[in-house]
Symmetry: C2
Subunit: 342 residues, 2 copies
């Protein structure tokens, strides 16, 4: 059995209330008393029971982070920012991997609600179907009754009436910008490898790509749009399929850097040089972008900053339903160049 406050009180020869006061430092306590209590605490190796405390305060010092997969560098980056900012207000972050499964996501939400999390941050793209949207809105409302603040991070709000702050990434803008970069280099036949179907991020990035092409009056060839997910494997397979089908393209724009890395390796395996034969661009500016050779041209997304922003919103003023859009920026490296003449 762990040591309790009462035992500390007994050893120090004071009342439990006094021990509590010493521990919290909210009320005046005589110096000599304080010393005796602190001594007892040390001798007994006492640690306050966070649950007993949470029971009184209806707060827990816990921040829930629900994401697809913490080992994915995109999520890891954001989680890192959240963790850092949360720790600064001495709150614990609880990271929950939902594996992209809505059921699991909701299960974690309930768990975190049960733990009276101070805030829950949902990170990453969301499914786009109406059913999910309705369920998410209901959940969001439920969180309020438990006093748990909710922040969406990297996904839009499920609806006007859903409470909670939002940190959005300018996916469409970033995607348009990097497409523009390719077009300005002279590329016209650009292949696009998407993220997983039916997710907000996938849709926004693809939309940016199409918008930029349209702006330049470049006709989009739907045969050059290949569906994938956010993995290296998807990038490899997508390029292999394109090549096998004999498609003609001078550049590949990938939904993220992992996909781009896969694309590069498939191109190399097929004997195509990057960027001399084919340019490749990614998205997110993950650490791995500079491991790939040639180093990837990509869109920088300030992941840690996004995480910190989420915490800021979570514990900022309660009332407004803030939406912050994080800007992105094209980073030109070595994987893109003008297409070969001809």
């Amino acid at each position: 059995m762990p040591v309790t406050l009462v035992e500390v009180a007994a050893r120090a020869g004071v009342s439990p209330a006094t021990v509590s006061r010493v521990l919290n430092g909210n009320y005046p306590v005589a110096e000599s008393t304080r010393q005796r209590v602190e001594k007892a605490v040390r001798e007994l190796d006492y640690v306050v029971n966070a649950h007993a405390r949470a029971l009184l305060h209806a707060t827990s010092g816990i921040v829930g982070v629900v994401l697809n997969d913490a080992s994915d560098p995109f999520f890891a980056g954001i989680a890192r920012g959240i963790q850092g900012a949360a720790a600064e207000t001495s709150r614990l972050s609880v990271i929950c991997n939902s594996e992209g499964d809505a059921e699991q996501e909701f299960a974690f939400l309930d768990l975190l609600r049960g733990h009276r999390a101070d805030a829950v941050i949902l990170v990453g793209a969301a499914p786009e179907d109406e059913e999910y949207r309705a369920a998410a809105t209901t959940r969001a409302k439920g969180m309020l009754t438990t006093g748990t603040r909710m922040v969406l991070c990297g996904r839009p709000s499920p609806g006007e009436d859903a409470p909670g702050h939002v940190v959005e990434i300018d996916n469409e803008g970033g995607s348009a910008a990097i497409t523009r970069h390719l077009v300005e280099l002279g590329h016209r036949r650009i292949a696009y490898v998407t993220g997983p179907d039916g997710r907000t991020t996938t849709t926004a990035r693809l939309a940016g790509f199409r918008r930029a092409l349209a702006d330049f009056g470049v006709e989009a060839d739907e045969n050059l749009v290949v569906h994938g997910d956010f993995s290296r494997q998807a990038g490899r397979e997508a390029v292999e399929r394109l090549l096998a089908a004999g498609r003609d393209f001078t550049a590949v724009l990938a939904a993220n850097d992992l996909v781009a890395a896969g694309a590069v390796s498939a191109l190399r395996a097929a004997g195509r040089s990057v960027p001399d034969d084919v340019s490749v661009a990614g998205y997110d500016n993950l650490p791995t972008a500079v491991d790939v050779w040639p180093n990837l041209t990509t869109v920088h997304v300030p992941l840690e900053e996004i995480g910190r922003k989420a915490i800021e919103l979570a514990f900022g003023p309660a009332d407004p339903q803030t939406v912050v859009t994080i800007p992105t920026a094209v980073v030109v490296r070595d994987s893109t160049a003008a297409p070969a003449a001809g």
Copy 2:
């Protein structure tokens, strides 16, 4: 204010005790009563207060994971395994980034202890000084009094008398094996870029390197050992320093894959081809090992499996102080080859 069990009871027209019984399903309850209670729970969107429950049970369903940095792929891999295995027993994982700082690590330990974590898993290399060892042993004993199980993961036990299970990685063996691979290819002048000084993992990997050289009767040149940390940056700088000093070497063995990736890029920048001019090998077999070109020869460490093992030990039979050593295996890819003749 969140809904409480009492309110549910009132709405269902039963006593709080009955609601509790329905919720936990431990005692017989009439079917009709159960239905009414479940209806009330749904209508009120009730979620049990995990703290109140934890107060009774002296358990929380929380597993603490303390590591350097969750965005580092090595830690991310292990954390993923822990998370998965913990979730299977419906426990929440709390991931805490200590940034390699012993103070912070201990602070998290206290926090987790306060939350009555069911188990705490310390992941990654530990400092090697005596002071840390003593402090860690004391902490480990303290955890016991709170009923928190402790597992060390990727680090040795701080001492014979320290309680807790251990999942060790065979760092020395793996390092010796990959060194052997290089020597057998014909390399004699092998540079070694270490991890951060004074950490168990760094020491073990370096020891394996030296042992393998000694086994082959190859004389180790201390000028070829460069100290770094586990980052790309360190790999780059180490190779630059080696090159600047005009050292003669035909292979670089890196403390991990990130360091190896950095080494490769520095060599390329200096116009040395990998593996034609210089072979490079890494450690850990991180996902990024196949983004690097040429793909890295490395030592596979089954990160997720290690994480799962840690949970298994944490919640397995209480008594024995188990030590499990996870074997490693050399993975030969494209970054190593026989040295150029001459």
